[in-house]
């Protein structure tokens, strides 16, 4: 869809990350993505794309943007914090841990807001990891009980058959 906004962009020059964020806040997500793609700086472009996809409710898309930026070496502390948030939203503990570890390893240090957010997501991550571990333990328990129950029933059936054979009078 080529909107009036997109056509206007072609004449007035590329809008930057802030323009994309503004459009996303207005709910004009297609225009926001278009503006984001015109941002020349790769890290700022990734930030605008991730912000737009997060606000459009495309959490998987936002995570893909963050991963691509990280792999290309264009990530930023802001991106990694948002990546952790998105990963926690889709209950992906492994992904969230990867993002938080990257955030913690930033050599330049974090501002107060990002440090506080990182700490908050780390608490949420621990809670999520605990929940998932409980779930996995319950699944293992259920599988074990099923296997042991099946073995016990099989043994009982064999024992019964053996007892009947022995109890049958020989001809």
């Amino acid at each position: 869809m080529i909107s009036a906004f997109a056509l206007a962009c072609a004449f007035v020059g590329p809008p930057d990350r802030d323009r994309a964020i503004e459009l996303a806040r207005e709910g004009r997500f297609t225009d926001a993505l278009f503006a984001a793609e015109l941002e020349p700086d790769p890290a700022r472009r990734a930030e605008a794309l991730l912000y737009t996809r997060l606000h459009a409710g495309d959490l998987d898309g936002a995570l893909r943007v963050a991963r691509a930026a990280r792999l290309a070496g264009h990530s930023s502390a802001w991106l990694e914090e948002r990546e952790a948030y998105a990963a926690l939203s889709v209950r992906d503990a492994v992904w969230a841990r990867t993002a938080l570890d990257a955030l913690a390893a930033r050599p330049e240090g974090l501002g107060v807001d990002l440090a506080a957010a990182g700490a908050r997501w780390r608490v949420e991550l621990d809670a999520l990891a605990s929940t998932l571990a409980d779930r996995d333990r319950a699944a293992t328990r259920a599988r074990t009980v099923t296997i042991l129950g099946t073995l016990a029933l099989s043994a009982a059936a064999l024992a019964l058959a053996f007892t009947r054979d022995r109890a049958r009078p020989s001809p």
Partner: protein, 264 residues
């Protein structure tokens, strides 16, 4: 009404109209805005629950459209709870007909009127689509209950647009309708809405008709229109799901296994 594990069977809020972001019911209000016209908007809901879809559509219709609807719910206790607690209209209203205690597939045999929109929102055991509501024969039958250029919308719980359940269901629907099917990710959720039309196709999310020019659905439709949020399914030579061969349960298992393999 929460069925546990975060799976909500019905949702209520005091005012009719759109629910907060992330609620897939909102997507079912879109077809009326794609085909705005004055007069009645006739809707059949298979899997009515406590009437959430009714309340969402009722409050989000264009001002000159009036909702006339029939809902089918297999569990009469849910209907009773809905009437007691969630403002589901009681018996006696011709524009709000509830058929309780009947399976959606069976109910289609007795539907005589034609509907502008048929909504399928039926699950069992929280996350399993009943096989009798996921076959090409069912979709052929549902298509026959639509008015000219009517739309069918389906709620699918799916892990993305490549989910095996979604692919099988959408292809089966396309075969049943002999038309391409549009799958649209519902923002902030693990749900996908499928849309098919009887005599044409739903609007393309990349086209100018998909996002209404005004009204309550502009933001939702705009979010659905972004790149990567929708997928078209062509009409296949053979339907993946039929009444005789319906591997929906194994596909659901494959869906969960595929989702757990994803990672950074």
């Amino acid at each position: 009404m929460n069925e546990s594990l975060g799976s909500f069977q019905s949702v209520w809020q005091p005012a009719t109209g759109l629910l907060p972001e992330g609620q897939y019911y909102n997507a079912f209000a879109l077809p009326a805005w794609w085909q705005p016209r004055a007069g009645p908007w006739r809707v059949l809901v298979l899997g009515l629950g406590a009437g959430t879809v009714w309340r969402v559509i009722e409050g989000a219709l264009p001002s000159d459209m009036e909702l006339e609807t029939t809902g089918v719910e297999i569990d009469p206790d849910v209907v009773e709870l809905g009437r007691r607690w969630l403002d589901l209209p009681g018996p006696g209203r011709a524009d709000r007909v509830v058929v309780a205690g009947v399976d959606g597939r069976a109910a289609l045999h007795h539907v005589s009127r034609r509907f502008d929109l048929v909504v399928l929102d039926a699950y069992q055991n929280q996350m399993e689509i009943p096989p009798q509501l996921a076959s090409v024969e069912f979709f052929e039958q549902a298509a026959q209950s639509l008015a000219t250029d009517g739309t069918m919308a389906v709620n699918v719980g799916a892990f993305g647009l490549e989910d095996p359940v979604l692919e099988a269901l959408a292809s089966t629907m396309a075969r049943g309708f002999r038309q391409r099917v549009l799958a649209v990710r519902v923002p902030f959720s693990r749900n996908v809405a499928l849309f098919a039309r009887l005599d044409s196709e739903p609007p393309d999310p990349r086209g100018s008709d998909f996002v209404p020019s005004s009204g309550p659905l502009v933001r939702l439709a705009s979010a659905m229109a972004i790149d990567g949020s929708s997928r078209w399914f062509d009409v296949p030579d053979r339907a993946p799901l039929t009444d005789d061969r319906n591997p929906i349960e194994s596909l659901q298992r494959a869906s969960v296994e595929r989702a757990t393999r994803s990672g950074p």
